[in-house]
Subunit: 192 residues, 2 copies
Amino acid sequence: MNTQSTRADDILRCARSLIVRGGYNSFSYADISKVVGIRTASIHHHFPSKSDLVRVLVAQYREEASAGLAQLEQNIPDPLDQLRAYLGYWERCFADMAAPFCVCALLAGEIPVLPEDVAVEVRAHFRRLADWLTGVFQRGAAQGRLRLSGTASADAEMFMATTHGAMLSARAYGDAKAFGAITRPLLERIAA
Amino acid sequence: MNTQSTRADDILRCARSLIVRGGYNSFSYADISKVVGIRTASIHHHFPSKSDLVRVLVAQYREEASAGLAQLEQNIPDPLDQLRAYLGYWERCFADMAAPFCVCALLAGEIPVLPEDVAVEVRAHFRRLADWLTGVFQRGAAQGRLRLSGTASADAEMFMATTHGAMLSARAYGDAKAFGAITRPLLERIAA
DNA sequence: GACATGCTACCTACTAGTTGGTAGGTTCTC
DNA sequence: GAGAACCTACCAACTAGTAGGTAGCATGTC
């Protein structure tokens, strides 16, 4: 396995931190150039077009997210604790980092102006997250740990929507604590 | 009161439909120029800078939204029905229009790259909406029509977050019906 | 060991098109 | 004739993207 930090990784990392601030059209190759210390032409060497760059970026983000969810699945037996850990992750992101946001939640809003192949990746992330949450709610209900108000799938979609909306509210209010303030009662409500 | 359609109104209307597709950086004066049939320089006559245009646009959106909420307040006595009507409005938007989205929900995600005066307007919309919802939940609880799971304010914030998140999901899935599918169970859950 | 080949990563220099914005003149309307 | 509305004609900066070249390194081959 290749663990060394390559230039392409630097570019992806930088692009992610830029895209997370304001979406697809809020950053340029020139912005990356300044941070990474490479000419814009050289970025094109690694990622021929901007849509290539963002498509790879989102695909990588999806993989990381998927691995993260798998790890929650592995390390945390209780479904309610899994949801707690998931929200806790984002709460820590808001507390620690400068401009935290789910890459895909941000890009979802821009889907009508996104290159099609990027939109496909964003959609896939929503599906993956919803599927995982549905499983958590199913097991939680079966184990009597979570109280469903509808189907597991419907509750999962609602949970995801509330989480993403809480990110928007945190940004709108300019208050990192808002995310936790909105999502913590959510957990209390669904705990059996 | 001036009810005639002016050029400035045409520009604002067009800009709104453009901004709703992909946010602040997804449209240009050239785009408006093509639709409205006016030169870009003439748009600058009405709105000296892009941030002026969007600030006025959001301010106008806020007024309309505020008027809409006031009308719900006036015409619909029951708090639960008020929420139903609010969500129904957005559900109809998703069903009828090409690219529906709450202007402020979209811009909230882009706040780090937004001109400060625009961000202020976006923030004000979130406050206004949260305040109204808090009032609805308070009255609903007092009248025994709504079941609170926390404070009225906390429930209101969660309701707003879920609504905004449902808009993101609808876009991500490319499915207008997703909005209603997510928000309808929300209503059922809080109905006493 | 010398040398050709080919590849990766990067560069400079450039392009066409777009961006938001300005200067200054014309036309329409009250 | 004053002012609003609109125009043409600009501008500098920026956009994604291309062309063509170079340096370094790994091959294989004589």
